[in-house]
């Protein structure tokens, strides 16, 4: 294990940010913490990195070096890209500054001060800094938020090549797609707990739930042996289920009155809801 948290708890005032988190990351693994905003992902990373202290539980970090992305908003505005990179790299044994400049499309911006960079460029610089010294463990908080599709793809491909060389990555994301594209293992977080864990394939299987919505009276699919989570808001009913065809068939056969029926892909929030409220 390169990093391990055991039963870590953290309260902010009376709110429990982490409610007993246990996780371990093996060397060479790429783990994604997936969850909605406020699920406790960032707090988990901060505690692992020593930026916050847990109220209870143990944290072990066995990596000889870690790479982290700084927040783009706080970078020293009058330093040049090349200077910041050189500065960060000086903390590590390996120097991949040239390589990350190219990988993150910053070669042409080496001489520019960070104050003159666009939001996307700053984000890419932040990513480049995490990898520039080839640390043993890279920790990324929402790595590709704010990147366009192309930049996101090239960031993903760099992350993969780093893991192939033997690097370890822990990242947080609220994009299902990102977790699927990168992770060996996904940990789904909700309300300060890890509610589900598995390979992307396993997670996908457990969140194949689709979202069925209609105007009308609530309907209890469980009575027909259909696995589902039902929510109603006024006359608007939302049902999350992997068995949409069976559900609709049961509704028709049982004469449930409905209007404006729609079936859509489950959002991550739906998926987390399905995983937390589901019958497993």
């Amino acid at each position: 294990m390169i990093a391990q948290l055991v039963d870590v708890r953290k309260n902010y005032g009376t709110r429990a940010a982490l409610d007993g988190v246990t996780l371990g990351i093996a060397r060479g693994e790429l783990v994604a913490l997936l969850g909605a905003n406020g699920a406790g992902k960032t707090t988990t990373l901060e505690i692992l990195l020593g930026l916050r202290r847990q109220d209870s539980g143990t944290v072990q970090l066995a990596a000889a070096s870690t790479g982290v992305t700084p927040q783009e908003t706080g970078m020293p505005q009058n330093l040049r890209v090349g200077e910041i990179l050189e500065f960060v790299v000086s903390h590590y044994r390996t120097n991949r500054a040239q390589e990350v400049l190219e990988a993150f499309g910053l070669s042409a911006s080496v001489k520019r001060q960070t104050g003159a960079l666009s939001g996307g460029q700053l984000r890419r610089l932040a990513l480049a800094l995490a990898f520039a010294g080839e640390p043993e463990l890279v920790v990324l908080d929402e790595p590709t938020t704010g990147l366009d599709v192309e930049a996101r793809r090239s960031a993903w491909s760099y992350v993969r090549s780093y893991v192939q060389r033997g690097g370890t990555v822990l990242l947080t994301t609220h994009h299902m797609e990102e977790a699927e594209a990168l992770a060996d293992r996904i940990l789904v977080m909700s309300a300060g707990r890890i509610v589900h864990e598995g390979t992307p394939a396993q997670i996908r299987r457990s969140v194949t739930a689709k979202r069925v919505t209609y105007e009308g009276a609530p309907f209890d699919p469980a009575a027909y042996g259909i696995e589902a989570v039902v929510e109603s808001n006024g006359s608007r009913v939302t049902i999350l289920t992997p068995e949409t065809d069976e559900l609709v068939r049961a509704m028709v056969l049982n004469g449930v009155k409905f209007a404006e029926l729609a079936v859509s892909e489950a959002s991550l929030e739906d998926a987390v809801l399905a995983l937390t409220a589901g019958p497993q």
């Binding site: 990195l49 020593g50 930026l51 916050r52 202290r53 070096s65 870690t66 982290v68 700084p70 927040q71 908003t73 706080g74 970078m75 020293p76 009058n78 330093l79 200077e83 500065f87 960060v88 000086s90 903390h91 590590y92 001060q113």
Partner: protein, 243 residues
């Protein structure tokens, strides 16, 4: 050591690209000297070294209060600070880097004052005097560095600039850096001996002959006081940020 130089370089690059910091802290002491006291120093050769040393103190205090006070207050509020903590470097290295740069800036600011005086008055320091002055200047610089660090940790980014300015100007005046202590108005003369600026000036003036142990002792007391304030402020900040 290599890491200290790396941090010093970062600090240096950031500051030399900030004209708003560079011009006032480096240039004002020499400018003030030229405007207010150069004429007097030319006319009274025996007083000239004292005046010059007052402005040397003024220069050193300016660099330390602004670079540490304002600098730390601003930086500790930024996310970049959190990021730096994730890099494998001890906190001491960052302070050391900052101190190294402060010494460079203080030397430049003080050298400008001395250069103006050397060029336009009969001023002359013997090598022994220059050495004693340098040592005393460094010692006083350490006291005001601690003062600056305390300001940096106890002030918010917004309040640090006015507070540093106020302390800088009030203490410089009350300390007799602009007007010789004997000519200070009564109320200022009364508090003057209790200001760190006055003790620093006394130490530098005495370095023309035998350095004053009394001034050195008084400055040591200030050093302890500011050091404790800085340490408490630092701890408080750490607790708030990384709890």
């Amino acid at each position: 050591m290599r890491q200290t130089l790396v941090y010093a370089r970062m600090q240096w690059l950031q500051l030399v690209r900030l004209p708003g910091f560079l011009i006032p802290t480096l240039g004002f002491p020499a400018l003030f000297f030229t405007f207010f006291d150069l004429g007097y120093a030319r006319a009274h050769a025996s007083v000239a070294p004292y005046l010059v040393l007052s402005y040397v103190a003024f220069a050193i205090i300016g660099v330390t209060l602004f670079q540490f006070g304002v600098g730390i207050a601003n930086e500790r509020a930024t996310p970049w600070e959190r990021y730096l903590r994730t890099l494998p470097a001890p906190v001491a290295v960052r302070f050391a880097g900052r101190i190294l740069v402060a010494i460079c800036f203080a030397c430049v600011a003080a050298a400008l004052v001395v250069a103006v005086a050397l060029a336009s008055t009969q001023l002359h320091f013997s090598a022994a005097q220059a050495l004693r002055i340098a040592v005393c200047a460094l010692g006083g610089g350490i006291v005001f560095t601690l003062f600056g660090i305390a300001i940096g940790y106890w002030c918010t980014p917004k309040s640090a600039i006015p507070i540093a300015n106020l302390l800088y100007l009030l203490l410089s005046f009350a300390g007799g850096l602009w007007v010789p202590p004997s000519q200070l108005p009564a109320f200022a003369a009364a508090v003057s001996p209790f200001t760190p600026t006055r003790q620093f000036a006394e130490l530098l003036w005495s370095a023309l002959g035998t350095p004053s142990w009394q001034a050195a002792g008084a400055l040591s007391i200030f050093a302890v006081l500011f050091g404790v304030l800085a340490a408490i402020g630092y701890r408080r900040d750490e607790r708030q940020k990384y709890a």
